[in-house]
């Protein structure tokens, strides 16, 4: 299954499942990336990592390593 890491800038997707455990998983969920949430990948930092996404109406940044814990479906858009 594709992860948030694979989603290109400008594309949106829906969170399907969170892998991993402990602080990182909890933090990702605390910030609102739970099952069924739609996410828009907004931009990539100048050095290629981290990425910036729009979720639940605000801007969130996370590293690509962390983004790979987020499995997504329904990738759509540019």
């Amino acid at each position: 299954m594709a992860s948030l890491r694979d989603v290109k800038v400008g594309q949106s997707c829906t969170v399907a499942k969170l892998t991993g455990e402990g602080p990182i998983k909890r933090r990702i969920m605390d910030m609102g990336l739970t099952k069924g949430t739609s996410v828009l990948v907004h931009k990539v930092a100048p050095l290629g990592d981290p990425i910036e996404v729009t979720v639940r109406g605000y801007e969130l940044t996370l590293r690509k390593d962390e983004a790979s814990c987020v499995e997504v479906t329904g990738i759509a858009g540019a």
């Binding site: 909890r26 801007e59 940044t61």
Partner: protein, 882 residues
């Protein structure tokens, strides 16, 4: 007086909580750290009613057990039981803010919700139904504006009422039927205290063993609860923690659908700004420009100018409030200097001595500030005896005491007797003849005294010396007050202007939202070293001064990164270390223009930080999972001037209070060590006492001080580094007051008087300390400098580290590590230099090789797997009770 009402302020970061706190209290309160962590704790009373005490909890997104901010917040809510909680919500970000609210509601305290930034929401075109939200949350809701002080009193009044009625919020039955069912079963099993039943049931369900520890549940009960949880997990194919989190957000979605009407989304101002500021191509250049600007203003220009002004004038020589007389004084001083009276006097006396005339005591008598009958007699006798002497070719010196050539260049080579050695084509600048009448004129000339000019204000030390003298205080008291206390505390106060300027800028960057972007742009670079993207800012600032550098680590949100950066950032050479660099450059290449040497010291600092960070990351105190970098990029906004000013004031005041006390004690201690001792010199009494006042004391009384004793006692530590003499040790100790003291202490210890780092004879004296059998030991000298660059910073910076760490143990660890690291690097330099240059191989060479191997091992080994100390979330509940 009635009883104090405790109200906690909870909310997300950037929800306006700090603005609310400042508006309510005017910040009249206590700013410190929560026990054991570097998280800031603020408490203050309500402006309207001093019986209401607000505690500002850290800005958090959740009450999870993972970050220190979240742990102190939830411990405060559950254990300290505030009378009421105000939960502030940023309505422009309602979904994520309500997530925290659902958790706060479960903590068993009366809660009032404040909806902040409703005006911003309205301008976006969104409509929100506050009454409906209040109904769904089951607690009072007030629409407020913290920025414009709207409805804040109503919010607090509601919180006070709720506190007096003491009806704790029970939380909302927001989970799905099967989870609610499981929670009910757990509640029965655990029989938690009144009011906290729901809180603990959910914590048991999440298997948060840390949070449920106070219940001290038996293994049987936990096993029973475990069955209930496992059943739900099996049915949902997910872990309990995730189920709870997801269902909270699912419920919030229903609130959003019921209470909020959203206007169609359009590009917000923040998004427009970010298109440029965090742009793929412009992001880095813009960041560098901002940093250069901060550095330029705080370090290069305004901040340093202000600090220098304070140090040079208030704590130095005094200053003029009258511009015209200042110019007059400066012009007079310049013309006085152009006459080279000092050179004429010393040249003439030397010539007289050559002619066989008794010159004993003449130089002192001429230089005496208040001539006595005795000194007048000496001068008079000398003038009569030397009437026919004419001194020829008297060399001219500059204000550093250096010889000059005819082009006004400093002559950088001296022979063993201190005479100038000329290069080919160079001609010594001389005064052709000095006659007896020239001498008389020079001897009677007095340098212009600023006190004689109108509008001169004396410096604090001079003024205090004057008062104490006229009050009849003893020399010891004057020395203690002026050199010890004012000197030490002055070194703290001198930093205030710089810190102030720095925080004006940093607070702005922080409050407006740019700091989060810095982390976004720089994270990639610093993550490799186990530091945060924001670690860059303290390091830049530290190149000016370590004190604001350590304070700037406040903006780093992760505690581990914050501690590591505070520990390492002082390894960057600060401006006070520049005289030491200048001194070494002088010795090595006689002040010639080798521009690359100074940058080398900065590279050494950066390398030391990177190496240390990589090594420390793999040690136990800094162990653990990589810290999640899942961070909000808050909307940009212009901070209100009021809260900006308060922010700056808090930082500066906290620095003065905490750092000041430590520096005060340290300065007095060093003053005592260097001024007291046994008068063991020739003609001395051999008694213990205040040395400068003892019989027959010379300029070199420090040689007999306790400091000298401590220096020799400790010098064995530095023998392997090549500088095991007590002078080097003693000056390293006195450099702890301020690093620039290293140079002046050298001057005193070697009887060079007022020589500066630019004086050629200081270079010679410094080189002399590292000269073995007539050859300069470059290795030992470089080792000495490296040690002083990397070891513990000055007391001001140490006091700041103490304040920042908020823990004596961490402070000791930081200082200890810095000293050990500096020592090891100095050992490498000296031992490997000796090995290569002299071919000497000994015990310490072996030690150096072993340490080098250990360092390389620590650098390159994979991240060790530490035993998980304590699982915060258990995989199976029963197992948590061993």
């Amino acid at each position: 007086m009635s009883e104090t009402i405790n109200i906690a302020l909870a909310g997300n970061p950037n929800c306006g909580k700090t603005t609310l706190f400042n508006e309510l209290t005017g910040s009249n309160g206590y700013v410190g750290n929560w026990p054991g962590v570097t998280v800031e704790k603020k408490q203050a009373h309500w402006k309207q009613n001093k019986d209401v005490l607000f505690t500002d909890l850290p800005g958090i997104y959740s009450l999870s057990p993972y970050s220190p901010e979240e742990v102190v917040s939830r411990d405060f809510l559950v254990d300290e039981r505030p009378d009421a909680v105000i939960d502030l919500i940023d309505v422009t970000n309602l979904e994520r803010n309500l997530y925290l609210t659902t958790q706060v509601l479960e903590a068993g305290r009366p809660v009032v919700v404040g909806l902040n930034m409703c005006d911003l929401l309205a301008s976006r075109g969104d409509v929100i139904d506050a009454k409906k939200i209040s109904k769904m949350l089951g607690v009072p809701v007030v629409e407020v504006s913290a920025l414009h002080n709207k409805n804040l009193d109503e919010l607090v009044q509601k919180a006070i009422d709720a506190g007096e009625k003491s009806v704790p919020s029970q939380g909302i039955k927001l989970f799905s039927a099967e989870v609610e069912d499981a929670l009910a079963k757990i509640a029965k099993i655990i029989a938690a205290p009144e009011g906290l039943s729901r809180w603990y049931s959910i914590k048991v369900f999440e298997r948060d063993v840390e949070a449920i520890a106070p219940l001290a549940l038996s293994k049987e009960k936990l096993d029973e609860a475990e069955k209930v949880i496992a059943a739900v997990e099996a049915a949902r194919d997910d872990d309990a923690e995730s189920i709870i989190t997801s269902e909270r957000y699912d419920w919030i979605q229903t609130v959003m659908d019921a209470c909020v009407e959203k206007a169609p989304a359009k590009l917000t101002t923040s998004q427009k700004i970010d298109r440029v500021v965090t742009n793929r191509w412009l992001g880095l250049p813009i960041f560098l420009c901002v940093m250069i600007l901060v550095y330029y203003i705080a370090i290069s220009t305004v901040g340093t100018a202000a600090t220098d002004w304070v140090n040079d004038n208030l704590f130095g020589d005094g200053f003029f409030v009258n511009g015209a007389s200042q110019q007059q004084y400066e012009a007079d001083t310049e013309s006085f200097n152009d006459n080279h009276y000092g050179d004429k006097v010393s040249g003439f006396i030397a010539a007289a001595a050559d002619a066989g005339i008794n010159t004993e005591g003449v130089a002192d008598a001429v230089a005496a500030e208040e001539p006595t009958a005795e000194s007048d007699a000496i001068v008079e006798r000398f003038e009569t005896a030397s009437a026919s002497v004419v001194a020829k070719d008297v060399p001219v010196t500059d204000e550093d005491g250096n010889f000059l050539d005819t082009e006004d260049n400093v002559i950088t080579k001296l022979d063993a007797d201190g005479n100038a050695v000329l290069e080919e084509g160079q001609t010594l600048q001389v005064i052709d003849t000095v006659t007896s009448s020239d001498f008389k004129e020079a001897a009677s000339a007095k340098a212009p005294d600023p006190h004689d000019y109108p509008g001169f204000i004396d410096s604090i030390p001079n003024a205090v010396t004057g008062w104490l003298t006229s009050a009849g205080a003893s020399a010891m008291v004057i020395s203690l007050v002026v050199d010890g206390i004012i000197g030490g505390v002055g070194s703290v106060l001198g930093f205030i202007p710089q810190i102030f300027v720095l925080f004006v800028m940093l607070s702005f960057l922080e409050d407006c939202g740019y700091m989060s972007r810095v982390a976004f742009v720089m994270d990639r670079v610093f993550r490799r070293f186990g530091l945060s993207g924001k670690s860059f800012i303290p390091m830049i600032v530290s190149s000016g001064c370590g004190v604001p550098g350590v304070l700037a680590t406040r903006t780093i949100e992760n505690e581990r990164d914050r501690r590591m950066t505070a520990m390492l950032t002082t390894m960057i050479p600060c401006s006070a270390k520049l005289p030491i660099i200048a001194l070494v450059m002088g010795v090595l290449m006689g002040g010639s223009d080798m521009w690359w040497v100074a940058p080398m010291f900065y590279f050494m600092g950066i390398a030391a930080i990177i190496i240390s960070a990589i090594m420390l990351k793999k040690t136990r105190p800094f162990q653990g999972e990589p810290v999640p970098f899942v961070m909000e990029l808050p909307d940009y906004h212009f901070p209100s001037i009021r809260s900006w000013a308060l922010h700056v004031w808090e930082r500066v005041a906290a620095y003065v209070k905490k750092a000041g006390t430590i520096i005060f004690a340290a300065a007095v201690a060093i003053w005592f060590l260097s001024n007291f001792g046994v008068a063991g010199w020739e003609g001395g009494t051999g008694a213990f006492g205040f040395l400068p006042e003892m019989e027959g004391v010379g300029e070199d009384f420090m040689d007999y001080s306790i400091l000298a004793g401590v220096g020799s006692a400790l010098s064995f530590l530095f023998a392997p580094l090549g500088f095991g003499n007590w002078q080097a040790t003693a000056s390293s100790i006195s450099a702890l007051i301020a690093k620039e003291n290293l140079v002046s202490t050298f001057g005193v210890l070697y009887g060079l008087g007022d020589a500066t780092e630019n004086s050629v004879n200081m270079w010679a004296g410094f080189a002399g300390m590292f000269t073995i059998e007539g050859a300069l030991h470059v290795g030992a000298m470089c080792a000495f400098v490296a040690f002083n660059m990397l070891c513990a910073p000055c007391f001001a910076a140490m006091g700041t580290i103490r304040k920042q760490m908020g823990s004596a143990r961490w402070t000791a660890f930081a200082i200890g590590y810095e000293c050990a690291f500096g020592w090891v690097i100095a050992l490498f330099i000296n031992q490997f230099y000796e090995l290569i240059a002299f071919g000497s191989f000994g015990l310490w060479t072996i030690v150096a090789f072993v340490l080098l191997a250990a360092m390389l091992f620590q650098l390159f080994r994979p991240m060790p797997k530490w035993e998980e100390k304590e699982q915060k979330i258990a995989t199976k509940l029963g197992e948590s009770v061993a």
